[in-house]
Amino acid sequence: MRRCEVVDRPTGFDLHDHVLWAHFGAEDWRKVLALFLQEGLVDNQRLVYAGTLQAEELLADLVALPDLDGLLATRRLELWSAHADPEEIGRRDVAAQAARLGSVVDAALAEGYTGIRLASEITDALAHVDDAEAHLRLECQVDQVAATHALVVMCGFDRLVVDPATMQGEFAVHPLRGCGTEAPRLHALGDDTWSLGGQVDILSHAGFAQAMAALPDVMRGDVLHLEVGQLEFIDVAGLRALVRLAEAVADRGRVVLHQPPQWLARMLALTFGTVEGLELLEPERRRLRKLR
């Protein structure tokens, strides 16, 4: 049975794993990429690095890989540079690409490798809506190949570049995700009572604001309860979403934050002062915790 979960490191992957990794820029990606591919060397897999960039640019991402020239010379590592023309991207034959991938895996096995370890930086591939939709179809095909062939795949994207809606689509088609632990957790405890935990910062602003904006529409009574005892961190933009929530329900009720940590109460007072319709109950003398 294939793994389907949140992972917190770019290693520990086996054949048939297909992971989506949200990185924070080129330097972060290169470190992740090196770790992922080096594991493939240990597991006697052929390495493939694919992307829409030109070959020279793909090489730049591999600088941290030891003996890069040797790996390329022996074809232990291959670079797949897709056509860089954005108009061509949407016209690629997805099925043909998937079939090629399956053949490449079979060829690697015939040469004595245990499989193919494929990494791909997909930020540019998601740049346009049409491209993103086409890419989703490709990822589904890739996932089918990963399920049936000796293939392990990591797709990386820049979290600050790709829009949240596109990210959500990509998450849906990747069984393994490398960034879910950073996202805040919102779930219902009962009527008009929600639990908010985790961390709210630049990585999760958009999704958090959307979630907060949705709550008034499902509110039944005149008090919306938010248990925030499990909230590990929230920044000013996140507080702004809470303030907006209070403003949205102010005409019919209020929002009550239960067990807010003292640092949150202080931060709210410093940045927004007293907010009409937002009540804090039982502030706890608790420090910021789990800062990662």
Binding site: E27, D235, L291
Partner: protein, 317 residues
Amino acid sequence: MTAPGQQPVFRHDAGFFSSPEETVTAVVPFLDEAVERGIPAYVRLEDDLAAMVRERLAEPEAVGFVEGASLANPLRAVRAMNDAAIGVVDAGVEEVRLVGCVPRASLGSKHGWEQWARYEAALNHIYAGIPLWGLCCYSTPPPAHVRADVLATHTGVLDDGGRWQPSEEYVDPASWIAARALTSVELLDEGAPAFELADPNPGRAREAVARLATDAGLGAERVDDLVLAVNEVVTNGFLHGSRPVTLRGWSDHEGVLLTVEDHGAGIDDDFAGMMPPRHDDRTLGGRGVRLARMCSDLVTFRRNPDSFTVRLAVVLP
């Protein structure tokens, strides 16, 4: 003093006194005259001075007293002043008077005075054009360097004859801030950093800051404050600056310094974040920088040829 009918503008005067008694003798007529002319008047002094003033006023109930706790730090003092006085100005009043002071304990502290000195300069920018007449009282003779800073950051000074005269040493706030030397804690970046993170994952950035501040000996609440402050500045670097955004940290026996550098144009207002947002303004703009200022001791901006750096410093007690 403004004559009846004369249009007041922002005045930021300073008085040097030898004792609390001498201070009270000078400021009470200033306040009594305001009350007599129907000008709103406020007092924001340390508690002992405030009590002495209250006792000597002709109509103490007509003067607003802002609690001494607002002097905990300069930004809190500005906020208290805003809450008390600027709201009245917004209502159309043509003049407001305020008697205030800097905590006497800060005058002998290198970093403590530096916070207040910058605040004194900032007031000339923040309240320019506001019909507020502020009178800052230095009720004990300050050290020479403090006196020099006061003369440069106040538009007027009380002379030996008890008359208010323009300060010949006054420097406009932008020039003053631009020329102001950094403190020793702010210059920790002349050495090798304890850590350096390029385009850091924000969670990892917060962790690094917390570890540095804790190891340096800051108390739990100050560590949390610094984490909140740095997170906002790093976020601003990503959202409004240009990557790479680099976070660096240093510490020594005096304090902790964090710098956030990006390659964008940066903030062009050296006083950004010093003015509290209006109560009815629920937008986000500027609140991150303000939080950074509220949660740090010293925040400075430096524009380099191809980058912009925010320094956040916290001084060890």
